[in-house]
């Protein structure tokens, strides 16, 4: 039973991490229908930003963290400006292929600067962050994952639900030409969605870095995991991304714990195939509202 709860805690924290990573992916898809294949590399970029600020420049952790936030937000803006804006109005497949190109480019850039080595952040999580629940110890890493993920998911959930800018973003996702007719700045919405996506990617990148160290390949491969997560949850739904993330996270950890660790990596993709066969819109995806 104790083993079960350990796995549960671990699975939940992995799940929230996936949810956070998927949030960025869903944002871009929702506003501009672009599947971002460079997602994993955005995660890795965020992780390396934090590495540079905290380890190389030896900035205090909170400042390094803030600078990573600002830096990745700006990077999202720049990516949209330089690479995606010129393609507005072109066919979608072009834009999606562009993100595949961006993925290779970013990966190459990171390998060029940092090499393929495994880096570790300086130890900064306070030990008293861990919680003892009966016989089960929740280590600080998981606690940090919970706190950061839930905080950001909540923050962006509220942002989309209540803030004017969030409502404008949803209106563009819903009906672009109607949004345009009301004066919604559609290009600004695209830029903002890339910026926010890069920002939440950086968050999840940092957490991944804390858990398993910073390495270009091992982090960017996590970007692929968002596909099963968002397909399961439904591509357009932020709530779906959260539920999908948690389900995939739990499935993975339980498979790893009870069946076999080598099966662990495969499970999400088996789910992906099953969902596509049975419920292609995902659990919370959009089936057009059709009045009869």
């Amino acid at each position: 039973m104790e083993f079960f709860f350990q796995l549960l805690i671990q699975g939940l924290s992995v799940g929230f991490l996936y949810a956070l990573a998927a949030l960025g992916f869903v944002m871009i898809f929702k506003s501009s229908s672009v599947l971002n294949f460079a997602h994993g590399d955005l995660l890795a970029m965020g992780a390396f930003f934090f590495l540079v600020f905290s380890l190389w420049w030896k900035l205090p952790i909170p400042i390094a963290f803030l600078m990573t936030l600002v830096g990745s937000f700006a990077m999202g803006f720049i990516i949209e400006r330089l690479f995606l804006r010129p393609l507005i109005g072109e066919s979608l497949i072009l834009v999606i292929m562009l993100t595949v190109g961006l993925a290779s480019m970013f990966k190459g850039l990171m390998l060029f600067i940092f090499g393929g080595n495994l880096f570790a952040y300086p130890e900064f999580l306070p030990q008293n962050l861990s919680i003892q629940l009966g016989n089960i110890l929740i280590p600080p890493v998981y606690m940090a994952t919970f706190i950061i993920s839930i905080l950001f998911l909540l923050l962006f959930g509220l942002f989309f639900k209540y803030s004017s800018q969030g409502i404008y973003m949803r209106s563009v996702a819903d009906n672009q030409s109607a949004a345009l007719s009301l004066g919604v700045h559609v290009r600004r919405v695209f830029a903002l969605s890339w910026a926010i996506a890069a920002l939440v990617c950086a968050m999840s990148g940092i957490i991944l870095g804390i858990i398993s160290g910073v390495n270009v390949h091992s982090i960017s491969i996590i970007g692929l995991k968002v596909f099963p997560v968002v397909i399961l949850g439904g591509l357009e739904s932020i709530g779906g991304a959260i539920i999908g993330g948690i389900i995939i996270g739990l499935l993975e950890t339980f498979t790893g714990g009870y069946i076999s660790t080598s099966l662990r990596e495969v499970v999400p993709y088996i789910v992906l195939v099953l969902i596509l066969l049975v419920k292609p819109y995902g659990l919370f995806g959009l089936v057009e509202i059709e009045r009869v």
Binding site: Q165, R170, S171, A178, L180, L182, V184, I289
Partner: protein, 267 residues
């Protein structure tokens, strides 16, 4: 130039995708605080005229190739929809295009995009004042509202932007007659009480000419006729082809054959 002219189209041509010419030299004038109605059959170029004004041609690969559009003394034919909406020109598109996955109130809030960050509570009250049925639907997803409610919603959404010039594209489309009357009544009240200038594109010529001050009749990308709305209502051609009130049942004479030819020209 007269002082009370709000918008002036001077001989504009519009071409889609560099080949399809839809407007062939349209000129018209919209005076402040008036309701100007643009009539014509399908494909006459009414919607294109509205889109040329609001800048929504661009996303559809259309372009104003000749002539100019002057609004409050500024040429706006090269401006983007973002700039044009911020000058106070808001178009309500044909076919009611709500944001289906947003609630009614969220839909209305999108109307504040041209003045992001400014208070909007008063405007919400105003919209609910004109469109009472929306109050009860506030928190419902727009995708589940009825056609009449949606028409009110999209007009209310445009009203949230505090427009100086409201472009309405076929507000009566697919609505029950009593609802059409109600919608037109509200359009008239908005024009009178808010001093909003309104440009109204309609197939329902009868209703449109009842509330409009001035009317234009379009055909084949050109303006065929223009006059005060009440005079247009009395015009025999308009009467016959748009209002359908010409004497029927009378014996057909050679005149009717001529009228048929005339009709061919109209439709």
């Amino acid at each position: 130039m007269e002082d009370n002219i709000l918008l002036q189209l001077n001989n504009i041509s519009v071409i889609y995708s560099d080949v399809i010419q839809v407007l062939k030299g349209v000129s018209l004038v919209v005076r402040k605080k008036q309701i100007v109605s643009l009539l014509g059959s399908n494909g006459a170029g009414k919607t294109t005229t509205l889109k040329a004004i609001s800048g929504l041609l661009k996303p559809e690969n259309g372009k104003v190739t000749e002539g100019n559009i002057v609004y409050e003394g500024h040429g706006i034919h090269n401006s983007s929809p973002e700039q044009i909406t911020r000058l106070g020109i808001i178009q309500v598109m044909e076919g009611r295009q709500p944001f289906k996955l947003l609630t009614v109130e969220e839909n209305l809030r999108v109307g504040t995009a041209t003045r992001w960050g400014k208070p909007y509570k008063k405007d919400l009250e105003l919209v609910y004042h004109y469109f009472q049925p929306l109050v009860a639907r506030k928190h419902r997803l727009a995708g589940f509202c009825s056609g009449g409610e949606l028409q009110m919603l999209v007009m209310g959404r445009a009203l949230m932007a505090q427009p100086k010039l409201l472009l309405l594209d076929e507000p009566s489309l697919g609505l029950a007659p009593f609802l059409v009357r109600e919608i037109f009544e509200i359009v008239k009240r908005i024009n009178e009480e808010q001093a909003t200038t309104i440009m109204l594109v309609e197939q329902n010529a009868n209703m449109a000419l009842q509330i409009a001050h001035y009317g234009y009749v379009m055909e084949n990308g050109k303006i065929m006729m223009e006059d005060e709305a009440n005079r247009l209502r009395e015009n025999p051609d308009v009467k016959e082809f748009y209002l359908g009130t010409a004497s029927s049942g009378a014996l057909k004479s050679y005149k009717d054959v001529k009228a048929y030819k005339r009709r061919k020209r109209w439709l």
